[in-house]
Amino acid sequence: MESHDLDLDHDSVYDGLLGGDPSQWAFGTDFEDPLAGVDTTIPAGVDGATLAAYCLMLGDDALVYAHRLSEWTSNAPDLEDDIALANIALDLLGQARLLLARAAAADAGVVPGLPEGSPVPAEDALAFFRDELAFRNVRFVEAVNGDFAVTIARLLLFATHRLALLQGLVPSVDPVLAAIAAKGVKEVTYHRDYAARWFVTLAQGTDESRRRLLAGLQTVWPTYAELFRCSDVEAVAARQAFGVDPRVLEPEVDAVVDHVLATSGLERPDLPPSGTRPLGREGQHTEAMGHLLAELQVVARAHPMGKW
């Protein structure tokens, strides 16, 4: 720490936010650009179209789940958890933005056409102007929230899976994916921690909280296996060393989930997985997805020339 800084912040922690521009105090200071200094050219040996398709999968997982989690805003059991879930949603939205922008950069063909002169950037066009069939997220993330216990059960499985996935992407040969993963690992580590703490708390809380958590686990469990199904795109991505084959993540994710279950005094649900193919990755979604997209997209679609 430099000595001339020592006088700052003595009276209010918020003094440190002022930075060089007092009008920007509410936004904090010293933010880091996760892609600063990163080479954005597509590396040799990486197929641009496959890279784009792969980024859409990971980006859509984050975007759709962020939207679901954001539905808790003002509805969570406590104000503090309201903000916690909104923070998690915003972290995932940030990952989605970077991933969708990478998809557009890798293959401009994935971006939906907009009217001539539209100021809507590619990442927004992908989020707001794609139809349901073009979304590549797993069905796991599009399901309705249910109550808080269902949400915690789903968040635990999602965050445990995504943390393993992002850790696997840190050595990606695509420097942009590697940088996005390095940033995401820190975020999702907290998401997993948050979910695991609440999972154990609900499991060992009251009879009612345990009953609800068990019901939540049973609700989300059949679609959990979908997270480890390998689509054609992911297989190629793993072969070209910029992506991860989801099947290799299963033992690691299972071990963490089993640890949380054991700490909670719960068994794995004895339920068969629903389906055998990664249908969401192929654009085949459930009824819930249409409703979600309608709400997510309606305003942007009404203003294709809009500036946000």
Partner: protein, 96 residues
């Protein structure tokens, strides 16, 4: 049906990136100490403010009473000689 007791109140102190000391930023409810830290992280450091958090159960804080304001603090009001303002401070002494 019994009334659910509220979670205990915690007072939150955050040390800013360039701050020397922890500063009181507000309060929140949490079921236990660990949850208080997590909630404080979520509520009070989400705009890149902090590098360290203290959480203290509000009922563990010993506070002076406003009724005692005069006997506690008024006597110091006219003791100007307690400030070391009658010395010439050399230019190269920082933080004075």
């Amino acid at each position: 049906m019994t009334v659910q007791p509220e979670w205990p109140l915690y007072e939150i102190f955050v040390r800013g990136k360039r701050g020397l000391n922890h500063v009181h930023v507000g309060s929140l409810h949490a079921a236990d100490d660990e949850m208080a830290l997590r909630h404080a992280r979520d509520v009070y450091t989400r705009r890149n403010e902090g590098v360290s958090i203290w959480a203290v159960r509000a009922d563990l804080i010993v506070a002076s009473s406003p009724d005692e304001k005069d006997p506690l603090f008024a006597p110091a009001g006219d003791k100007v000689y307690r400030h070391p303002t009658f010395y010439a401070i050399p230019d190269d002494v920082p933080h004075m």
